[in-house]
């Protein structure tokens, strides 16, 4: 894009990718993105990893090995058609044994949407995700307030910061028993809450949570769809210029580099 055109219109034009959020020195890091049958947002997660400066590594659900990756993303979609329960079948994929072991050993693991559901089914995170309270799929640009910004995946945000990333789910209502919800809040394990509008009936407006160690994060909205100007959310900077999701990916890389 020529500078002349960019200056001529007050708003950045679509496709103005800029430098993105690539982290210097991250190119040696390998971030795996798991593909289950029915996974949909895997290519988007791979793109987000690439834009953040690391190597994006596709991982196949049927494999046993994590292929020496430094972090793992379980992307969105409808693994196994959401049959039985969202994430209930994917949990038993051969690769998930390795993912669970690695997560328990401290490897950064991010579950987005269906990936969040898989993390809950795998008992890496508490609670469950159920059908939206209004019974319909919903796709919208969603405001979140960031809470715990000490996790591996959120350190590039500040607590109380409002971000906007796409949300798109049919079964995104976060539920848990009151004791678990209290515990999540008391121990500061809520990563983000819906702001302004609760799109799916999630209890206490919870959009994402972490484990106590902070290496495993589950998030219902989609940060990987707000990493590239022109294809992100509408924002004050212009149409689809929103890149508020980048921080999740850069956070993990910065965490790995400083470890």
């Amino acid at each position: 894009m020529s500078a002349r055109v960019a200056m001529a219109t007050a708003a950045p034009l679509v496709g103005d990718r800029g430098d993105g959020g690539a982290i210097p020195g991250a190119d040696a890091l390998r971030v795996g993105v798991v593909q289950f049958p029915g996974t949909l947002d895997d290519r988007d997660a791979l793109r987000a990893v690439t834009l953040s400066g690391a190597q994006a590594v596709p991982l196949w659900h049927g494999d046993d090995s994590l292929s020496d990756v430094d972090a793992v993303i379980l992307p969105g979609g409808f693994s196994y058609g959401d049959y039985l329960r969202c994430g209930a079948i994917a949990r038993f994929a051969p690769l998930m044994t390795a993912v669970v072991d690695a997560a328990k050993g401290g490897m950064p693991v991010l579950g987005i949407c269906n990936g969040f559901q898989v993390l809950c089914e795998s008992h890496l995170l508490p609670g469950a995700l159920i059908r939206n309270d209004h019974q319909r799929f919903i796709c919208r640009d969603q405001e979140l307030v960031m809470e715990n910004t000490d996790t591996t995946w959120t350190r590039d945000y500040s607590t109380g910061e409002t971000i906007t990333i796409p949300l798109k789910n049919g079964e995104g209502g976060f539920v848990a028993d009151p004791a678990t919800l209290d515990q999540l809040e008391d121990e500061g394990l809520v990563v983000a809450r819906y702001h302004g509008f609760n799109p799916n009936g999630s209890q206490r407006d919870i959009a994402g949570i972490t484990n106590a160690r902070g290496n495993v994060v589950g998030l219902m909205p989609h940060p990987e769809h707000a990493v590239e100007a022109g294809f992100g959310t509408d924002s004050a900077n212009g149409m689809r210029a929103g890149v508020d999701g980048q921080g999740f990916f850069t956070s993990a890389l910065r965490s790995l580099l400083s470890a």
């Binding site: 960019a6 219109t9 049958p37 409808f78 058609g81 049959y83 919903i138 049919g170 590239e228």
Partner: protein
Amino acid sequence: MTTTASPGASSDKRVKETVEFAAQNPDVEQPFAELGLKHDEYLKIRDVLGRRPTSAELAMYSVMWSEHCSYKSSKVHLRKFGDNVTDDMKKNLLVGIGENAGVVDIGDGWAVTFKVESHNSPSYVEPYQGAATGVGGIVRDIISMGARPVAVMDQLRFGAIDHPDTARVLPGVVGGISGYGNSLGLPNIGGETVFDPSYQGNPLVNALAVGVLRHEDIRLANASGKGNKVVLFGARTGGDGIGGASILASESFDDSKPSKRPAVQVGDPFAEKVLIECCLELFHADTVEGIQDLGAAGISCATSELASNGDGGMHITLEDVLLRDPTLTPEEILMSESQERMMAVVRPDKLDEFLAITGKWEVEASVLGEVTDTGRLVIEWHGDVIVDVPPRSVAHDGPVYERPFETPSWTESTQKNTVAAAGLTKPATDDELRETVLTLAASPNLCSKDWITQQFDRYVQGNTALAFPDDAGVIRVDEQSGRGIALATDANGRYCFLDPAEGAKLALSEAHRNVATSGARPLAVTDCLNFGSPEDPEIMWQFAQTVEGLSSACLDFGIPVTGGNVSMYNQTGTTAILPTPVVGVLGVFDDVGRAIPSGWRLPGQTIYLLGTTGDELDGSAWADVVHGHLGGVPPRYRPEAERELAEILINASRDGMIDAAHDLSEGGLAQAIVESSLRWGAGARIWVTELLERDGIDLFTALFSESTARAIVAVPRSEEVRFSDMCTARGFPFVRIGMTDVGDEDHPNSLEFVDHFTIGLDELAQAHNGTLPHQFG
């Protein structure tokens, strides 16, 4: 017909109705009429075969010679699309009409395939599954060309918004598109939703899919190479979507079979998603010689089309089809429309690799037989030949009808019943005009469709640059260069009712204008022609006029029809739907970074109206919403002005002169300004004096006339000179009509028609956004 095991048969699955038996027993009475065949069609089958058909052959011919599969009423007219094409129009066409979908060259070695298809009647019977499998079917057409599907759109028509049955049909249809499309990982980037009582018993569910591929990856539906294997893969074949075959099956030997089966197919989006990825890997490994999806008429269609497009022969063993229901008869297997199935032709030396890939994706596959050079399609069932036919006679040489047509008796009186002749009361005061703007903005056909589109994933794949409610959907194809495509579809059934030929031209005009408004250069056309019964000469006249109009408009715009679909018999009793030719236009961007949205965000930009406005209110949204009136003639078709307008919009977007552009169509200037303001909640001050003087019209006409070849644009101050110079140099009429304005502490964000009336954006948004949630919860 009674089917018993032949004496000495080793299998109780053997049937009496073999080719040999049919030849020896010519006088068996056959239920051809119940299967939808006319007596002379049945005689033609006997003539082709030189004997009576077996029940399996009768099943195949009956579905393949149906209106839906054979286009027997429309064929003679559709030829016009092929005849009215210049060499220049064909220069970007890699594959034309006749294949599963047309393929268009978009440059840099990239190609795009796109098509729109109907799934109307299943969606009325069972809205969720009907709409879902409509999406599934069109997506498989796209995969069959070797392309990766990248987006879908839907064109919906329902009865009156407040009719009780609409509350059943609409949420089901939207849920089906959402449930199926979202699960495939395909962004839904646009479409139309229109309400009109004529669609009450015949809602229209058209679905468009678009895919991308490299030129060298094009796949065609043909079975070539003697000895190549024929493989059926994907979901198992079940008893859904069999329809008429139940007549043949009704007296079968086994009465323990499930008796009630859905006539509408049941979709499994998970199976389709896996099938998409599996097919792309099969293509990538170069394991496929020819491929065909299984849609209407299932295996009957796939085998006969593959064979007749290739070396002309095929021999398959039908008992090797993997079944969901082991009690299915051969006739049912041949007719079943079970979803998520594909048929491939594979070289023997590639078969192991092919099966390894289907195995990786846990997709079931069975080798049914092989390609032959006999010129015959031979199908065996447990050792007996039950089908032995020339495949072309099934797939391509079906009946062709020159159905009689005549101008409807009411045409003249309807066209004379203009807005002026009917003496419709027009709003006179500023208050009445203000009310009319709000009423139109809230009316079912012009209100916000967010309630629907929020149920569709527009983000997945990460390449969506524009989606609803912008004028066109825009998808990036090449992530490096930004090369991409724009798509828009349109059809105004009211215009088409008043004058089908002009209405069709206007549908193409508007889709073309929408694509250009987004900044893309229009390249190619697809269509889905939805009509009533072709056996009614007045309906047939509408159809003939439409094809005539559309093909001549394609010549005017210099872009070809690459493929499409015809849906007839959309009528209940003698009440036919409004003629609804959905026209889709594909455009190309060198860089989707130039895509222009339909609304403005920033204050202080100048709003120009491009084009001229006349008194053209017949068939308008205003006449419909305020007076329930439909008469007169549609707005004038102006191809030269449209092409010039398109050039201006494309250049302005390419050179960064405009920040917003929106075409004027239903609801006229008022509705366009409403939509552009509500896109991002930024108001405007509008002054119309210069426009009224130049065009010699009153404020009402300026606001609500639907004259064609018009658009509004928002131009940053720094670009005003360059933009107005361009319009002047091209001699295209343009007039400054206002300024974007987001309000301040003293005056709220609003839409102000200076010296006339003001509407606060909150009030406007409430009116525009409230209609669908109020109706559907």
